[in-house]
């Protein structure tokens, strides 16, 4: 077996050193009835690389890669072009095969990356500080709510109807088991929703998403002020991190906590994971944050260096009193995020965000020109909602048959609801030809159905 360096001779001499007759003896504390006599049944024996490649290659070939066809899927996961440099660097063994930087003297690489990542996230979100990552945007969102409960010592969260329903569900799942109230507002596909009136002095936080799940962009400054007046916190969720390159950041709107999905930078779609949760807060809340934090310090020679810090918040020190149970986070995805953001730089990120927006505007106009199709958004970034004269799920199936991944039917996210709505995301990867093909196919599919 290619991964196992011990030879039979090694094993024998090691057993002698241990004074054990066989390896089986070493398992003597396992109850006899539970010890298998030999390799477990029902599974194949070992395989060479080539055989594994054939097997997994065959499975991969049964999927339609988004990049192989015009693709307009978003709803919390976005297909962006990732520069070749990113994947090359994240595969360096020194990054890929290191553990959490518990021994800082031999982990300065990972630690400096985390320090830079935290800074990039803070700059992008317009917040004071960010942590070293969470599992994904949805768990960041749930952790933000729990953090707001701790800070305000209140137990009610108001979740905007524009919050991605999966983020909502992760948060309400926690609410059920942890024992706080999560008031989820009904979805508002046309954008109208008045949260201001709901904030009272029992409210721990209000959670809004920007752009929201239907693509609407909004200025939440008034809501931030209303929250502040009632002693509640404003949590802003961002599922398309690239929007932070163009839009007024949540920090400037007065957000107390930003919980975001960072997949758009450096990370492939990966059928939903691994992704990278971003978590940023105002300075004064740092000690209530979940997750790891990297900080600057000096070494014994007085030189600048980095360490994991403020760990008295964390489970390995605080145990049942920790701010969160998170341990392993999304380190390598954070590295990919960071490298991509470094490559883009100020000029690149602005241009990439503008490019996404401009293409989305072009696509929205093209779809709105299709008979029977109505655009629901006034303001949007790179994703918007259209109303179709026919159930969107069927249209999307039909489009897939024509080898176009034409967006996410809203009913996939809200089963049985809003069946005529379709979410369409456009990125720099979509060409003019892609957009033309999508609009043409949609015209054709809807053609028969549109009333005269």
């Amino acid at each position: 077996m290619r991964y196992l360096p011990l030879t039979e001779a090694d094993r024998q001499s090691m057993l002698e050193a241990i004074r054990a007759e066989t390896v089986d003896v070493l398992f003597r504390d396992v109850p006899e009835a539970a010890r298998l006599a030999g390799p477990i049944g029902g599974l194949p024996n070992h395989m060479g690389e080539l055989e594994v490649e054939r097997l997994l290659g065959a499975m991969a070939a049964k999927n339609l890669p988004a990049g192989a066809v015009p693709s307009f899927l978003g709803a919390g996961a976005y297909r962006h072009h990732v520069p070749a440099t990113v994947d090359h660097l994240v595969q360096r063994g020194e990054f890929l095969t290191a553990y959490t930087p518990y021994q800082p003297e031999v982990s300065q690489g990972t630690l400096q990356v985390l320090f830079e990542f935290q800074t990039q996230v803070a700059l992008l979100t317009g917040m004071d500080v960010a942590n070293a990552s969470m599992y994904d945007g949805a768990t960041s969102c749930a952790e933000a709510v729990m953090m707001a409960n701790r800070i305000t010592r209140r137990k009610k969260a108001i979740l905007s109807g524009g919050l991605h329903p999966h983020y909502r569900d992760v948060t309400t799942t926690d609410a059920r088991f942890i024992g706080f109230e999560a008031v989820a507002m009904p979805p508002a596909p046309t954008g109208g929703e008045d949260l201001l009136a709901l904030v009272d002095d029992k409210t721990a936080c209000v959670v809004v998403q920007n752009p929201d799940v239907f693509g609407h962009v909004r200025d939440h400054s008034d809501l931030a002020a209303a929250c502040q007046a009632k002693g509640a916190l404003l949590v802003v969720v961002v599922t398309e991190a690239l929007s932070l390159g163009l839009l007024t950041p949540p920090g400037d709107m007065g957000a107390d906590i930003v919980a975001a999905e960072g997949q758009s930078f450096g990370n492939a779609l990966n059928f939903g994971g691994p992704y990278v949760g971003l978590f940023a807060v105002k300075d004064k809340y740092v000690r209530q944050m979940p997750g790891r934090l990297c900080g600057e310090t000096v070494d014994a020679d007085g030189r600048r260096g980095f360490v994991l810090t403020l760990s008295t918040r964390e489970q390995h020190i605080r145990r049942e009193k920790a701010t969160s149970n998170i341990c392993t986070n999304s380190g390598l995805c954070a590295l990919a995020f960071s490298i991509h953001v470094s490559l883009l730089g100020e000029a690149g990120i602005t241009r990439l965000a503008q490019l996404n927006h401009a293409k989305a505007v072009q696509m929205a106009d093209r779809l709105a020109a299709v008979p029977g199709v109505e655009l629901l958004n006034d303001g949007f970034f790179n994703e918007f909602t259209v109303k179709l004269p026919k159930p969107a799920a069927a249209v999307v199936e039909d489009l897939a048959k024509r080898r176009i991944l034409g967006g996410v039917p809203v009913s996939r996210l809200y089963p049985g609801e809003m069946e005529d709505l379709l979410l369409v995301a456009v990125t720099e990867t979509n060409t003019e030809a892609d957009m033309d093909a999508f609009a043409a196919a949609l015209t054709e599919i809807l053609g028969a159905e549109v009333p005269a």
């Binding site: 398992f27 298998l36 070992h46 988004a66 994240v90 003297e105 000096v298 490559l343």
Partner: protein
């Protein structure tokens, strides 16, 4: 809390400053150890490492939101970015470069085949919300992985959703709560957790609204069965037990433990972080376990990536099988189907935005297929053999906390350092100078100054011998009264010991632009 504004010496001294007092060189570099400033300290406005097309001229449609004035990111060209991260990588120790016996973390070799498979466009370039008809192979992969995990554990059901071990714990404890609630049993307010448990166990129980009650260990490093029985009652929802436990020992009484837990109407959660010791040789279902998480990033070799991502599938016995979160894969009439909404069923909710850590699933299945049943048998055998060999070879110079045989890791405490002035930490730092990553220090908490060594099966005998020889020599040196040597270690690393107290007292958690720094300082 205020930012630290006093400024630190920049990583790169100006050449005009002359020869650096620490390194003896003008640059502060030491041969292959090259100093690297922060990315923010290498900015040139307007420079970029990505060429993008012209932005089409269309009127922007941002509604009421204004475009932001700027982000404040630095501009670098691609070669600079490549060099930056390459130099940073060279300041890391990694399993690719050497022995990494970090107990409880299973730092085994990470096969590159797995990386290649995870990057097949059919897996990596698939959107989680594509029509199910276009992702049949992805669902098949998840189904296959589920089959392997169920077969290896003997359990009835599995969820692949959780993102890491701690997330899996959360999922398991939620399922336990959901099952009690489904029976209308709301009196159970406690979870029992041994003192030796990993910090995530009590943190998880507390996060799920349970009080944590610690159970003591016996002198032989295992759960005190009588103490456990005394604590079991109608107020106990479950037991969270790591097996093999965090002392590297198999819980001999495990079947009696399971019976006692079940007799009290509670569930038995097993922390499967140490599954590597028994995978392919022992099925957790045969031990009476109701629910267990598996760290794919330990047992099944998906890389740790400097802290993540991981993946923490959870297996369930029949008793808890209905209470799994969404989404999950089913066999439909038309191929594989994906259940994404709990609806009115017993599924308790959702853990994560999408379907789990697909990239990790591919790597783990690639690992499983490569090993097969025979390879896994050999892998767990070698993991246990390696740990027992290290233990046997160190036993006369260090103090093993418990009698062997151990499983995949061996635990020492600091009694052998008594009176030497050398601590567990000092010993770890001296090992760094010898070219090894230290073992896990100060965990588990049940012994003083713990040193937990997990070699894994992918280490050769030569590598174990070199480590053992070094550690033996260091132990002798400590006993000979050379504490100063240890206290000054490490000497040969890119940085010497870092001041963690200062870091926590006045946290500097981000770079701040020099202008802002000056402005704040002037206030």
């Amino acid at each position: 809390m205020s930012m630290n504004n006093q400024g630190r010496p920049s990583a790169i001294p100006a050449a005009s400053a002359g020869f650096d007092g620490v390194t003896g060189t003008v640059t502060g570099n030491r041969g292959l150890q090259i100093e690297e400033p922060l990315i923010f300290e290498q900015d040139s406005a307007g420079r970029t490492g990505v060429d993008l097309p012209e932005v089409p001229k269309v009127a922007s449609r941002l509604g009421a939101v204004k475009p932001r004035a700027g982000v404040g990111l630095p501009g670098l060209a691609e070669p600079q970015v490549v060099r930056h991260y390459t130099r940073l990588s060279q300041k890391n120790y990694a399993i690719d470069s050497g022995f990494y016996p970090l107990g409880s973390c299973t730092m085994k070799h990470n096969p590159r085949l797995n990386e290649k498979m995870a990057r097949l466009p059919g897996f990596s370039d698939v959107h989680p919300l594509q029509p199910v008809s276009t992702v049949q192979g992805a669902l098949e992969l998840m189904d296959q992985l589920a089959y392997w995990l169920k077969t290896l554990t003997g359990m009835a059901a599995v969820t692949l959703a959780p993102a890491a071990g701690a997330h899996g714990e959360m999922c398991g404890i939620m399922a336990i709560r959901a099952a009690h609630e489904a029976r209308g049993d709301k009196a159970r307010t406690k979870i029992l957790v041994p003192e030796s448990a990993h910090g995530t166990n009590p943190a998880t129980a507390a996060a799920c609204g349970y009080a944590v009650d610690a159970i003591p260990a016996t002198a032989d490093g295992r759960v005190d069965l009588e103490a456990l029985k005394a604590k079991l009652g109608p107020d106990v929802a479950g037991l969270m037990l790591t097996n093999p436990n965090t002392c590297g020992l198999f819980e001999r009484d495990i079947i009696a433990i399971a019976e006692a837990v079940h007799a009290a109407g509670a569930y038995f959660y097993c922390d499967g972080a140490n599954f590597n010791a028994i995978v392919g040789r022992v099925r957790p279902a045969d031990l009476g376990i109701d629910v267990m998480h598996i760290n794919l990033h330990k047992t099944f070799s998906t890389p740790h990536g400097g802290g993540g991502p991981g993946s923490g599938p959870v297996v369930f016995a029949d008793s808890l099988a209905p209470y799994i979160p969404v989404p999950y894969v089913t066999h439909g009439t038309d191929g594989f189907a994906l259940v994404e909404n709990a609806g009115d069923g017993p599924a308790f909710g959702r853990m994560k935005a999408f379907h789990g850590q697909m990239g990790m699933f591919v790597r783990a299945l690639s690992y499983m297929l490569s090993h097969g049943a025979d390879g896994l048998w050999q892998a767990s055998s070698d993991a246990v053999l390696n740990a027992n060999y290290v233990m046997a070879r160190l036993q006369d110079v260090m103090t093993a906390s418990f009698e062997g045989p151990c499983m995949h890791e061996c635990l020492f405490d600091d009694r052998f350092l008594k009176g030497t002035g050398v601590t567990t930490l000092d010993m770890a730092k001296a090992l760094i100078d010898e070219g090894f990553h230290p073992m896990t220090m100060y965990f588990p908490l049940v012994v003083h100054g713990a040193l937990l060594i997990e070699p894994t099966e992918t280490e050769s005998k030569a590598s174990l011998d070199q480590f053992v020889d070094a550690l033996r020599a260091l132990a002798e040196r400590a006993k000979s009264g050379d504490a100063a040597y240890f206290q000054a270690a490490p000497r040969l690393t890119p940085r010497r010991r870092l001041d963690e107290t200062a870091a926590a007292r006045k946290p500097v958690l981000r770079w701040t632009p020099p202008v802002a720094k000056e402005a704040v300082a002037a206030e």
